[in-house]
């Protein structure tokens, strides 16, 4: 119960942060990605602000084996720099640049009732499903 409540709270705060920062707006994100046009550096400030806080939190987290609510501390263990990481990130970046949406802002814009966000989120979930299907087939062969 505590775990789910904290999850809901974190999601809510994340969504509010995206709205405050302007990053729920795809046009704002595209303004950052358009370095050859009129460039809007705002996204870099969002990342900077988030990482500033994150640096402290993750420094503390790394020194613990359990969270402050007593759950396992699950930090990613992998440090492999492989093809999957790079190709996956290339595909993601291409999709991000196409419409200005990454997963978080897509969900927030969906909550705001935008029909375009619904189209994006449904396609994104389909893309994730495609990944599972491909991986399952590869494991079988």
């Amino acid at each position: 119960m505590k775990f789910n409540l904290a999850s809901f709270g974190a999601g809510l705060l994340f969504g509010i942060g995206l709205l405050v920062s302007g990053m729920a707006n795809p046009e704002k994100v595209l303004g950052f990605l358009d370095i050859a046009g009129q460039w809007d550096p705002s996204l870099a400030f969002v990342m900077g602000g988030a990482i500033l806080v994150g640096l402290f939190a993750f420094t503390v987290a790394k020194q613990r084996t359990t969270s402050f609510l007593g759950f396992d501390m699950r930090l990613p263990a992998s440090d492999r720099l492989d093809k999957r990481l790079v190709i996956g990130s290339l595909l993601f970046g291409a999709g991000w640049g196409l419409a200005g949406f990454c997963p978080g802002p897509g969900l927030v814009a969906l909550g705001a009732g935008k029909s375009g966000a619904l189209v994006f989120v449904v396609a994104m979930v389909a893309g994730m499903g495609l990944f599972e299907v491909i991986e399952k087939n590869r494991a079988r062969n």
Binding site: F14, L18, L19, V20, Q38, F45, L110, A112
Partner: protein, 146 residues
Amino acid sequence: MIEIAWDNFTPWSALAGGIIIGLSAAGFILLNGRIAGISGILGGLLVPQKRDVFWRIAFLAGMFVAPLLWMMTAELPPIEIKASYPVLVAAGLLVGIGTRYGSGCTSGHGVCGLSRLSARSLIATLTFMVAGFVTVYIIRHLITGA
């Protein structure tokens, strides 16, 4: 040369929103011991594991509810989606499959990964940023010619 769009640049609200996002990621790792990576949280629902479903829905519901709560007290900031539906479909498919192969997106790699000084996340973030720059360059300056 890079020209700054001073009329659109919003450094203070960007910084404030970024700090709120950082607090969310900080709270999530310190209270629950998990990474606030949206694509991972959502993707995990497609292969549901026992006792690993409800918290994911709770997190995503929080994000979905954020604009609804906002609208009760204030006017929502602009959300302009100019891409056509076919482009949004292509974008969604690429983002969905790409984030799962790359094990993360702007939140998991960009915010959390860089905060914990992960080389893997740095490579991922640089890669998707460059891919985003190139894609927008092609669309706005090579195809559209604006």
